[in-house]
Symmetry: C2
Subunit: 278 residues, 2 copies
DNA sequence: TTGACAAATGACTTATTAGTCATTATTATA
DNA sequence: TATAATAATGACTAATAAGTCATTTGTCAA
């Protein structure tokens, strides 16, 4: 166990300096003063080490933030506390934060992507609950959009101090972000991300979605929908998926029927893709 | 020349799908239907291909944006035009945009970092001139900060449609960003990034800065400064660097004297680092 | 048709790295 | 102290990939 921790610490340092890909296991073990074989007694593979690192730190960071948010009674301080805790955590684990931000878009390892996605969703959940608590009904239509604004601003400023070694006045940064968040929350009238978009993004598109998955999705949506036009269009589209009988023009028309309904956005997008590729 | 273009096109596709690191030259040449040797007749190395790609597309993207900004007479449309052109360009060159966003933080190739940094600065310059034109004097103290807000928001939303294949209503996105930008520009009172920070970030810190470089920097700043307290403190600190004579307490005090002066922020940070490491 | 030149090839060299496993060292136990 | 069990080693294998160069193929003018 102690060996495992040693490897994780040293690897983290090297990863942050050189990147994960560019750091061979041999270098990690040299840096630890152990043999290569010893590494594989602690971790089945290099990938397992990476996953372990992400879990270890993300759990800490998320737990810190979650704890602070849940234990801040005073709403006036809440936003400031949130930002402060987050940046404090990023700073404390800056080596990890660097890796995480880098691999967020870079990685092609399936398991890693899933992991990163998972923690990203957790963060979004925290931000959303924070927004709801602070602004309540007022942001009903803009809250999902606001999440992406907050994430964008946090990313921009994090990158600044993580990758430029710029001196950081954390208090000022948090004050500044609190002001910006309040501004955006109270005055935004044209949100880009709607509740439906947000739902969509929870199920990120696989490279290929099968016909069966689309059918299943249609069946579920049909139940939730009242409007007869959209409902009938959906049912026809489903039948056409099971056994193609309709002409392209009719299909296109049906797609047009459902495209504007908020619950059908995702499905209509998938169907457009499906028929375009076919 | 045509061969070069073929390679660039095909490589771009593969890079966007799999990442640069994960795409061997052999795969590129197979995909082009040429031999490995032929690749090396067009490009001296894989790195040269990457640089060529970045130059090719960044020049196009920046030129597009710059042209639109310069040729939009009506200020009311300017911001919208800027966002629209940018996202249009990103969409048009989405394979490249993906690579660029990924490698922005990931890359460890020195030449690549310099390239990316260069184009990033160009973008910042365009954004700055746009802000100055639109808001003028009103944002004198917040304009540098505003750049990072805009970049953050743009990044956040770009990642969304680049990596999630989300369907994009570009008009709505741009409207939304115009509103947000106007909000932030007209109401921000607590900027985080000041003019001085912005200057600093232009010269990103090397891993190690030598004593000589700090001395040189102090000499230059001394000339620009009027205030006697800061000026004298700087001179004493310089002498102490040349030949250490002062006690740690005195040095600390002198650093405290200069730390708040806007022109000394950078130097005081470097000195803090310097004495901490020593 | 031929010879000279250029273009293209792909087997080969060199280098790197993840992961293995027979061997050795260490520790615990009787 | 002897023996068994456990931990650690690092030379080795297999795989991958960048870049080279002797050889082949194609082109075109004489």
């Amino acid at each position: 166990m102690i060996k495992k921790q040693l490897i994780m610490e040293k690897a983290l340092e090297l990863f942050a300096q050189q990147g994960i890909e560019a750091t061979p296991v041999q270098q990690i073990t040299d840096y630890c003063g152990i043999s290569k074989g010893a590494f594989y007694l602690s971790f089945k593979s290099k990938d397992e080490l990476i996953i372990a690192l992400i879990d270890h730190f993300m759990i800490q960071i998320i737990a810190d933030i979650d704890y602070m948010v849940k234990n801040t009674e005073n709403d006036a301080e809440l936003l400031y506390t949130f930002y402060y805790t987050t940046f404090h955590s990023f700073h404390k684990h800056s080596d990890f934060a660097k890796i995480f931000i880098k691999e967020q878009t870079q990685s092609f390892n399936e398991e890693l992507i899933v992991k990163i996605h998972y923690y990203d969703r957790l963060m979004e959940g925290i931000i959303l609950s924070l927004i709801e608590r602070l602004y309540g009904e007022k942001v009903e239509n803009t809250k999902y959009d606001l999440i992406y604004c907050i994430k964008g601003l946090m990313n921009s400023y994090s990158a600044l101090f993580l990758f430029n070694n710029a001196p950081l006045n954390r208090e000022l940064l948090c004050q500044s972000l609190v002001e910006k968040t309040n501004l955006l929350a109270s005055h935004t009238s044209v949100p880009f991300i709607t509740r439906e978009d947000f739902q969509m993004l929870k199920h990120p598109i696989k490279e290929e979605i099968t016909k069966e998955q689309i059918i299943e999705m249609i069946e579920q949506i049909s139940k939730e929908i009242e409007e007869p036009l959209e409902k009938e269009s959906l049912i026809l589209l489903k039948q056409h998926l099971v056994e193609p009988t309709l002409s392209p023009a009719i299909v296109k028309g049906l797609l047009e029927n459902i495209r504007k309904h908020p619950h059908c956005k995702w499905v209509s997008y998938l169907l457009f893709r499906y028929y375009e590729i076919e």
